[in-house]
């Protein structure tokens, strides 16, 4: 069958549609042509249209990014001829036209764009911003946790001064507060529309899960969970350059082989999420463009449970760190799609995260440390997530083989996604292979989640060390740059010394696209930004 050249306007009543469509000039321009329509294939799509809602899956970030606006956004930084990334320390206005810090540093006041309107046609007001922020800190779940990470905790912090002026009051001095406004969580709802349809629920959870009530550059034309999401441009968008694409079809294609065939045959414009082996082949073949961004703040690691024997022995942990076959893992499990995190100097080369640790594969040294540790040969188990098995399983097998050489017998324990989180929460697994990266790319942010004694779910190693906690806290709220640098150096060195986590590599975020696709933008949430993509 030949694909149709001319698109038909969607006539069928879709399962779910965005209500209250503003009169759009799209009709006057005619239906979007194939060249103005992007076909993206991904493993799975959104399970909600509300990123603040509890239980929203990763692709919902893309809905928040494209269909809603935030006060501010990160400044774009060109990486290479395919990819643009961002500078987390430089912010630009999205809904905010300008902002001003108070002279005493206790608040920031935002002026909202005069021409900013919702899809309903109503102007965006400071009340909408306040309602949305209140919602994010009150609704619970991931949204609230993420807001709290930037010391945005209470509704009293958000003040609507007048129609177009919004003030954010700080609870404490926190360098993450402002950048945290640019991640996908604190987006702005059309609060009147949401409240009108809330059915009595104070945060209109059910309504917003199935409907867009915002003013972003795209609207959701149709959402068929598990099959596809179709976005259509909001032609009246004023909070940035009008997107080139007029329509985006995001299809859920579960099989990676099928996704690869679609991109290689040229039927899909962009393929999100292929296994590293496929990306490495595609990159080598050179027929499609491959964007590779080292995921900021993220590493693949082997965690050793430092709260329980035998891995509460620091010499033993170091022995394991010297035994890991890093180079083989990079080749056989990541297919080179990552930045090595081994073989660094004994003190961190730069004060960033991730940074190469001083370990490398040296079995003699591992055996010596094993002897020093006084631990007799033993058997243990290594837990990995079945959902990431394409990468984690070969990694685990290589670790198992290497540790056998120093007298540690490892049994692999592959656990399906739902149980994996539960397993992490128990904090009893002796060894875990996992991947983590924070949205806000600061070393102290990573260390706060993973190494701090408050024992978040990500402190997989159950690592407890008061000295470490002091250094992390000192860095988070450091009054000046030298104090910050000193604290960061301190906890990086302590992390290298104690090795509850053995970093393997910083993974690439790989996206494959046709040669005629341009404007690929990488954001912390990793979802594609349709506002900037171009075709043809």
């Amino acid at each position: 069958m030949k694909r149709r050249d001319v698109l038909k306007a969607v006539a069928a009543a879709p399962a779910l549609t965005a209500p209250a469509l503003a009169p759009s000039s799209a009709a006057a321009q005619g239906a979007p042509t194939r060249n103005e329509t992007l076909l993206l294939v991904q493993e799975y799509g959104p399970n909600s249209l509300d990123m603040q809602g509890i239980g929203s899956s990763q692709p919902v970030n893309g809905v928040a990014l494209n269909c809603y606006d935030r006060l501010v956004k990160f400044k774009q930084v060109r990486v290479d001829d395919v990819t643009t990334s961002f500078d987390i320390n430089a912010l630009e206005g999205e809904l905010a036209e300008s902002w001003q810090d108070a002279s005493d540093g206790t608040s920031t006041t935002f002026k909202i764009r005069a021409d900013a309107r919702f899809h309903s046609g109503r102007p965006v007001t400071a009340r909408d911003v306040k309602w949305s922020m209140d919602r994010a800190v009150s609704i619970g779940g991931f949204a609230t946790t993420q807001m709290n990470a930037g010391s945005l905790e209470k509704p009293e912090q958000f003040v609507a001064l007048d129609e177009k002026t919004f003030r954010l009051d700080y609870l404490r001095r926190d360098k993450l507060s402002m950048p945290n406004l640019a991640v996908t969580i604190p987006f702005v709802f059309d609060s009147e529309l949401a409240i009108r349809n809330s059915g009595g629920d104070v945060w209109a959870k059910d309504y917003l899960k199935n409907n867009i009530a915002g003013g972003g550059a795209f609207r959701v034309e149709a959402w068929r969970p598990g099959t596809e999401t179709i976005y259509i441009r909001n032609d009246d968008w004023k909070n940035g350059t009008l997107p080139k694409l007029r329509r985006v079809i995001a299809r859920d294609i579960p099989s990676p082989s099928t996704r690869r065939a679609l991109i290689e045959r040229g039927d899909a414009d962009i393929s999100y999420g292929l296994p590293p082996k496929d990306f490495s082949d595609l990159a080598a073949a050179g027929r499609v463009r491959v964007s590779a961004v080292p995921v900021p703040n993220a590493i693949w690691y082997v965690a050793l449970n430092s709260a329980n024997p035998p891995f509460n022995n620091v010499k033993l942990r170091q022995a394991v760190a010297w035994a890991i076959p890093y180079e083989q893992i990079m080749q056989a499990s990541l297919f080179g799609r990552g930045v090595p995190m081994w073989g660094g100097p004994s003190t961190p080369a730069q004060l960033t995260w991730p940074v190469p640790f001083p370990y490398s594969s040296n079995i003699a040294r591992a055996r010596a440390l094993m002897a020093e540790s006084g631990v007799a040969p033993f058997s243990t188990s290594l837990v990995l997530d079945a959902g990431t098995a394409t990468i984690a399983e070969p990694m685990a097998v290589l670790v198992k083989e290497a540790l056998a050489q120093i007298g540690i017998t490892v049994e692999l324990n592959k656990i399906p996604g739902a149980n994996f989180r539960g397993e992490l929460n128990k904090k009893t697994a002796p060894m875990v292979i996992n991947r983590f990266g924070g949205w806000l790319d600061w070393p102290d942010y990573f260390f706060f989640w993973n190494y701090h004694g408050n024992n978040s779910i990500f402190n997989v190693a159950a690592y407890q060390n008061p000295a470490m906690d002091r250094l992390i806290d000192a860095a988070r709220f450091a009054p000046n740059a030298p104090a910050y640098a000193e604290a960061v150096r301190g906890f990086l060195e302590l992390g290298m010394q104690d090795v509850p986590f053995i970093p393997i590599a910083q993974p690439f975020h790989d996206v494959a696209m046709q040669r005629n696709i341009g404007g690929y933008q990488f954001w912390p949430c990793r979802e594609p930004d349709f506002r900037l993509l171009t075709k043809g």
């Binding site: 069958m1 069928a12 929203s56 779940g141 969970p225 596809e228 149980n419 539960g422 978040s456």
Partner: protein, 335 residues
């Protein structure tokens, strides 16, 4: 008629048992729904909030009572993986699975029954061996392998088949819903372009399924034909000088069909739920992949809804098979 009603009534205890067993299974299985859906940076409080919202913090009998009450109202609960009511998901996906499975079954029947007859009539001949080889290949090749192979050859290499992106090309529009079967709906709407599109998308997954379903049908047809061909009434028919065509098709086949129909019913219900891998490879939005994804996420409601739907379908299917058997076999009518 009365027998029919009695039979339906008789299947009620089985359905009740299915409801109880799936409820207990989804609760007993390891895996924590709340933790999974609390997302990556979940705190203990947010997990507790989700637990409370889902009613998972209540004692089991109370949960079961609430579940049954909702069930009576036709409410199968919410799916956390798609964020939609389970009933709506199942109603949207069941026709997709049914259309694919029926098409697969038709292909399998079209090949397997003639092949089985030929193999039985010409036992030990080349046909018989061909039948054995095809059947063995059909069962021993895993469906995802056949699926991927067909995609590779007919889509990737030859470009004859459309992109395997589900029931319709991404740029096509689904026909207005009457039955949920795209081929029927498009025909009703008179939209032949969509019909051709849906048909083209259906061919590869249906052939994949058909190859898999060949084996049991061909084997049963062959065995059953052999048994009937050896029977005395066939010898009598032959001795009476009836043509071999009449003997085989009119007398033997009709009698041999009974076990075949029963097998067809079983194969159909089995395929409906078990074609997960075909659905994955061809991005087919069916109920098999729906249930498996829910299971991986420890999402109980869709799993319960799926099992219940399958149980109801199975009951109805058995009923249909009985009716067909009665039509074919006068003895069954008297029983």
């Amino acid at each position: 008629m009365r027998g029919l009603a009695l039979r339906l009534l008789g299947s009620l205890p089985a359905l009740v048992a299915v409801v109880i067993v799936t409820f207990i299974l989804t609760r007993v299985l390891p895996g924590d729904t709340a933790t999974y859906f609390a997302g990556p940076t979940a705190s203990a409080e947010s997990i507790a909030q989700i637990k409370a919202a889902l009613g998972l913090d209540r004692p089991l009998p109370e949960q079961f009572w609430n579940y049954t009450k909702a069930l009576v109202r036709g409410d199968l609960g919410m799916s956390l993986t798609t964020g939609q009511p389970v009933l709506k998901d199942l109603l949207a996906r069941l026709p997709a699975s049914a259309e694919l499975t029926l098409a697969g079954l038709l292909i399998a029947m079209g090949i397997a029954i003639p092949l089985g007859i030929l193999a039985a009539v010409k036992q030990g001949s080349l046909w018989d061996h061909a039948c054995r080889i095809i059947v063995t290949a059909g069962v021993s090749l895993p469906v995802f392998f056949t699926g991927l192979l067909l995609v590779y050859v007919f889509y990737f290499l030859l470009g004859w088949s459309p992109a395997p992106v589900g029931r319709l090309d991404a740029f096509a529009t689904a026909p207005p819903t009457w039955t949920g079967f795209y081929l029927i709906d498009a025909a009703i709407a008179g939209d032949w372009e969509t019909w051709r599109g849906a048909f083209a998308q259906l061919i590869l997954p249906a052939v994949t399924l058909g190859l898999f379903a060949l084996a049991p049908i061909a084997r049963i047809t062959r065995a059953s034909m052999l048994a009937v061909l050896g029977a005395e009434f066939i010898r009598t028919a032959r001795a009476s000088g009836l043509s071999s065509r009449t003997v085989i098709l009119t007398y033997a086949l009709r009698n041999a069909l009974l076990p075949v129909v029963t097998t067809l019913g079983m194969v159909f219900s089995f395929l409906l739920g078990a074609n997960v891998l075909v659905e994955k490879v061809f991005a087919w939005p069916g109920i098999g992949s729906y249930a498996v994804e829910a299971l991986i996420a420890s999402d109980g409601a869709p799993v319960q809804g799926f099992v219940l739907t399958m149980a109801i379908l199975y009951v109805l299917l058995n009923l249909t098979i009985d009716l067909v058997n009665r039509a074919l076999d006068p003895r069954a009518r008297q029983a």
